[in-house]
Each structure stands twice: as C-alpha cells, then as structure tokens.
Symmetry: C2
Subunit: 234 residues, 2 copies
C-alpha cells in the first residue's frame, strides 16, 4: 500500500505550504496536513528536528521514507512523481527555473510588510513598509508579470498544452497579489489578458476547483505572506 503523504506546515495560513497543497490536490494525492490535525503545531515543531534531513523551516513533506524540505524541492519531487512536470532534463529544469523565479517574487511580496525585520510586528515598520511596497507595486510586480506573460505567450500553460506545478504556483501568486495589492495587480494584469486567462484556467481545473471550494483551502489573512494592507497598495 502506498503511504499517504504527510505535509508539515503552519495550520492557519496558506503561505509557502499552499504551493505544495495545490500540487498534491492537482495530483489527486492522499495527504495529511499534519498541523491541522489533532497533533497541531506541536507535531510540526517536533517533526522539524527529526530525522537525517531536517528542515530549516516549514513546509516539509514526508514521502516514501524521505523527508523533503524547501517548497521548490518538494514540488520538483511531486512533479516527477505525478506528472506535474516534463520528464526530460530540459523541461524539468525549465519548470524548476520558473518555480524559483516565482519564489523570488513571493519573497519580495513578503518583504513589503516586513522590510526591517521578520521578528518585528508590521505596526513597528509601517512607514518603511510603505516605501518598500511603493517600489514593489510600481516596478517589481509589473516586471515579474511582464516576464511571465512573455513566457506564457499564447499557450494554455507556461510550458505548452500540459500544466505543470509552475502553473499552479503562478495561479497562487496571482491570487495572492490580487488579494494583497488589488489595485496594483489589476493595473499590471490589464496589460496581460493571457495571465488572467491562465489564472481562470487553473481555477477551473476540476481538482483545483473542488479544492478551492473545500474547507481545506484556507482564506488569505494578515498573518500570511500576502497581506491586504490598503496603504501598501500603490
């Protein structure tokens, strides 16, 4: 019997774990979202230090006797195992490259509300956040979206007719940007109908659509990476 996956991530946010959840859902894989179960965050904290391949931070995935950390590495594994990426070297690397570029965008989105320090509250760095978000909304969002729109072109998905984990992640980033920066993101997307089309195309995939309607999909909130602070939405 195939052991179901165990995903370890914070139970109250989408965060970086959401990229893994979307891949597991699209694969139709059976998985436990451990910290949302009876063990709670204690189970997460305990597992973080266990075993020969400990993670620096969540998310990490127990699969097939391994414990795999780092979002992009987890997705690479799921991509190979569930047909969420091409099998050939060039396609596999290109999918991963796109994922890592999305991860850069996610890091920058996070930094908008925590420019001075991750250990400090947003309220203690609000003015600096306003300046940092100004650059992000005016220059960085357009630059990243221009890039992905150019890669996508007239195709259905980033690599062509077949969806990969990078498409699921791009969908999630577009959802997050629309939540956190509705004005800046609408402005950037207005120039790229192909990105809006991809966003809908992913949302309408049967397993993703079912997931988004389910209680398994957490709501965006202001503890998460993508936070809606209207004063940051330039």
């Amino acid at each position: 019997m195939v052991q179901p996956y165990e995903l370890f991530y914070w139970p109250h946010i989408q965060g970086r774990g959401e990229f893994v959840r979307l891949a597991l859902e699209e694969a139709g894989a059976e998985y436990a979202d451990v910290a949302r179960g009876p063990g709670g965050v204690d189970a997460l904290a305990a597992a973080l230090k266990e075993g020969p391949t400990p993670s620096f931070a969540p998310p990490f995935l127990r699969a097939d006797g391994m414990t795999i950390g780092q979002t992009a590495a987890i997705l690479m594994y799921l991509g190979e195992r569930h047909g969420l990426a091409p099998q050939d070297t060039a396609g596999r690397l290109w999918t991963h490259q796109l994922q890592l570029t999305l991860a850069d965008l996610v890091n920058e989105a996070h930094d908008t509300h925590h420019p001075i320090g991750i250990a400090l509250y947003y309220e203690d760095q609000r003015e600096q956040a306003r300046r940092r978000a100004g650059e992000f909304t005016a220059a960085r969002i357009p630059r990243f979206l221009d890039y992905f729109a150019r890669v996508l072109g007239g195709q259905d998905y980033l690599l062509g007719p077949q969806r990969t984990y990078a498409d699921l992640s791009l969908f999630q980033v577009l959802e997050g940007l629309a939540y956190a920066f509705p004005r800046a993101s609408a402005r950037a997307l207005a120039r790229h109908p192909n990105l809006s089309a991809l966003r809908r195309r992913v949302a309408e995939r049967p397993r993703i659509a079912a997931y988004l309607q389910s209680p398994r999909r957490l709501a965006f909130n202001e503890e998460d990476i993508f936070r809606h602070y209207p004063e940051l939405d330039g």
Copy 2:
C-alpha cells in the same frame, strides 16, 4: 566535441554567479564567463532575452543546447552532470534542499543593506539597514549556522565523505559572511569549529585553491551581495 559552458553573469561581482563559478571550477569544466570577455555586459543583456527559456535575471548558463537560469537550478544540472551531488532521488533532493536554504540566507544577507528598496542607494536607507542588520547578525546568522553545523556534525562534508555543490556554496556563504560581518560571523563560528573546518577543507581542494589564487576569482566589494559596512556588523 563537447561545447564549453557559457556563464552569463555580472562581470564585477561574485554575487549569485559565484556559486556557479565554484561548481564549474570544482568540476574542472571549461567555461567562458561571457560578460568578462570582449562582449561585456552588452552580451549579457542581449542573451538575457534570447531563446525559449529566458531568465528573469542573471546568472544563467548555456549548456548542451539549453539555457538554464536560477542559481539553484544551474547547480542541480551541474551536480548531476559532474558528480557534484548524489545520483539517487533522496540524496539529490537533500543536496538541493540545503542549497535552497543557503539561498534563503543569501537573500537575507542582501536585504541587510537594501531593506527599503533594491532600486535605492544604500546611503538612502542606511538607518533602516542598521536595524535590519541588527536582527540578521543577532538572530539570523546564528540560527542558520546552528542549522548547518547540526547537519554537518562530525562529517567531512554536508552529505558525508563526498563533497557536493552544497558544500561549495556553504563555503562561499561563510566567506561572504566573514567579509561582510567579521565580528558577528566570528562570534557565531566560535561555537561551530566543524563549520570552520569545512570552510578550510573546501578552500584547500586543489581546484578550488587554484581558482581562489587566480585572476578569475573577483574580490568582494560593496557592489556585491556581501558588503562590508562596519556599522552593520553588530
């Protein structure tokens, strides 16, 4: 005939390209560092937009008919091709996970001098940089180094007796931290002689030692990711 590699990266800094250079050097691979050649940065800028797998930013590598972007993806490719990572799935993923965690540390090191915006000068965000670097030197450097020291344990290299690209990258990060934050980094390393031993072990590998003595190795400087601003070294 095997085509030599072409590395595209900024010509005046180590930056993220240095992780790729170290892997190419350790592999004994023939490569052109294109923007340091006659074409200069114009060749880099032109190549950035070419081909079916464009990069969002340097570094990227032309290899075997492919163009591969994102430091960690390039290293994964070189690791597979040159024995700089295990071949089995678990070992390959673990090496990559460690690399991605080092990339997180590098991002945080960069943010210390650019907390408010990458498009602004350091001089225009000096006070915010001081606060951000305070957290980095007091909390983040120790936490990351504790993690890597625990993974390394009493082994010669992070995965055991065989060096991988993650060891080369850890070496580079330790060099960078020692340059940028000599006091904070000495304090954290004092608790982890095994990390200092790994740093020496990598530096003394014949090909790495030759590279570090060669004109190909650029000096650290204040245009780079690791910058020595004494006021940030808490």
